[in-house]
Symmetry: C2
């Protein structure tokens, strides 16, 4: 039965009748006489020795931890990132420290500053908004940081971006090819990174494919189901001739709300109104009709971010140029725009 207090190399050294240096050597596989090795291993075994990672970290100044900071893990987009990041880090021998900051900018900055405490060797962060304070903290960060989300050119850290512009273009082109011309757009808040970029993408995309943008068909609310419902009600309020024949929703939750109201009004989807969501979360496949959705590649963004960070960590000779990676979007066509009616198998088994 192993003793209950924690054995250290000193304990083992005494027990085995050697010096702590020899114990350390054995435990680290350095050359040692056979007999010594045996004695040490036997003692370690019988005492139930486990190396203390904190002491190791102090000596090596490496924690073997990487932090990942996001606004809310409940958001499927961040969850998708996390699911990719986790195994990549584990594979490389790093533990994952998870920070969920809430919609609080200060907490986000706090995480950035917290790096100075050296509890982690690096950080992956997907900021809600990028303020000058963010850039200042990134500048002075004492450990490698990778940012998921767009950063101004010339920013000092590695950066993994989505391409919502192209993603929205794909969706609009799909709708145009289906003969739709009166495209409604339901967005989240314009003072968030995704809200603003999706708004810009919608405007650019409409122009790109030569469609007329009717401001009456553009609604802004929250990234929630309720917004989708309310906006859709509003869009269906006036003259039928003015109704949209397609809706682009800035995320899947909004699209679900839109579907609720279309169903309630007896409008057929996609025959009368086609609906497209964004982010391609599990909800898209769960809804009925299943939702066509633009994927901005969250999973891949997570994976790429983790790889960039590991790369930095592996190469101590830093000073390299910050790298920018842009992940390709993709369009997943399902029943809500007339695509495949066979449901795909959801992602998360139990």
């Amino acid at each position: 039965m192993p003793s209950h207090s924690n054995p250290t190399i000193t304990t083992i050294a005494e027990s085995a009748g050697v010096s702590i240096a020899s114990v350390s050597r054995v435990l680290n596989g350095l050359p040692v006489r056979d007999a010594t090795e045996r004695k040490v291993l036997a003692a370690a075994q019988s005492l139930g020795y486990v190396p203390n990672s904190v002491a190791r970290s102090l000596k090596s100044s490496r924690t073997n931890q990487v932090a990942f900071a996001i606004e809310d893990i409940g958001n499927p987009v961040y969850l998708a990132m996390l699911r990719e990041i986790q195994p990549v880090l584990k594979q490389a021998g790093y533990r994952l420290v998870l920070h969920s900051t809430g919609a609080d900018l200060d907490e986000e900055l706090e995480v950035l500053r917290g790096l100075g405490q050296r509890y982690a060797d690096g950080l992956i962060i997907s900021p809600i908004r990028v303020t000058p304070e963010h850039l200042a903290e990134l500048e002075r960060a004492t450990a490698p940081v990778v940012v998921i989300g767009s950063l101004p050119d010339g920013s000092p850290v590695d950066n993994v971006r989505a391409d919502s512009r192209t993603g929205v273009e794909m969706a609009l082109r799909h709708l145009r090819d289906l003969g739709r011309r009166r495209i409604g757009f339901v967005n989240g808040p314009l003072d968030t990174v995704p809200g603003r970029s999706r708004d810009a993408a919608f405007r650019a995309g409409m122009r790109r494919w030569g469609m007329v943008l009717d401001e009456d068909l553009v609604h802004v609310g929250a990234f929630r189901r309720r917004t989708g419902a309310e906006a859709t009600r509003a869009l269906l309020a006036g003259d039928a001739a003015a109704h949209p024949d397609a809706l682009l929703c800035a995320n899947d939750l909004i699209a679900l709300g839109a579907l609720d109201v279309l169903r309630e009004r007896g409008l057929r989807v996609p025959e009368e109104v086609a609906v497209v969501g964004m982010d391609d979360t599990d909800l898209a496949a769960a809804s009925w009709p299943a939702l066509t959705s633009v994927s901005l590649g969250s999973a891949e963004r997570g994976r790429r971010a983790a790889q960039l960070l590991l790369d930095r960590l592996a190469d101590p000779g830093s000073g390299r140029e910050p790298r920018v990676v842009t992940v390709e979007p993709s369009l997943h066509v399902r029943a809500s725009t007339g695509g495949d009616r066979v449901a795909d198998d959801g992602a998360a088994p139990r």
Copy 2:
């Protein structure tokens, strides 16, 4: 501009012209002469000093970290736990280390053993299966552990349980009250904790409410959408008189698969077949018809587990009896059994 190498209390001491002890005292708010305090704070400020948490941990033998280990964060049940655990720990000043073990029992045991490395002050774990090895490791754990999921009586650690028995009873009673008698059951693997307990709960529940259990209406597969679809097809294969008039599905994903096939066959839900899921995930509200689902209180289980652990951590005088907490289930009635047709707002905004 702060120097780029890391200032330590030694650096500050030199810069301020005092001893490291004084620096430490100032930083920890111990009584110091005013002038000293000023000098030290000024030096710390201008050098951009941040205390090194590793060194602190080595000295204090507290890491201010808590580990949370689950099979897969993609599983909404574990995600719900995580979402509750995280803020509770943060509030108490602990960082969260996340382990996703995959379906691998060895990795799970590895996490338990890893506690010996002292990288965390405590652990919350929700094991896939509880083997004798698990119990042995729990016995010798060097830090407080809380297990989410049932443990044999007399196990040495705190334990937060679901009550699937009562949850299933609620669902079956609901179906019986709707006049349903031929209840089908679609389950996941029987060699998993949830699979086994849900099977037992179904059998007990049918007995409890005086309904006849027809083994032909019981199907076992995976906890996936495909299983729901396949089982439902099989259940609808024979004589119409033998078809079930209600389906209890062991999780929401299975229920979605059942809905797919019922829709494909033109069977009305709930009029011809009522459907109930389990776990009450976001998918339940997203589906159409929205899914009635049994919640086993994952969120609350997470919260309670975190509280139990904090409790242990706060009270160094340990040796207290292990505590067992059982969380009440609840039934969320929606359209798939004739409940409210108004969709609720999904959980995760963006």
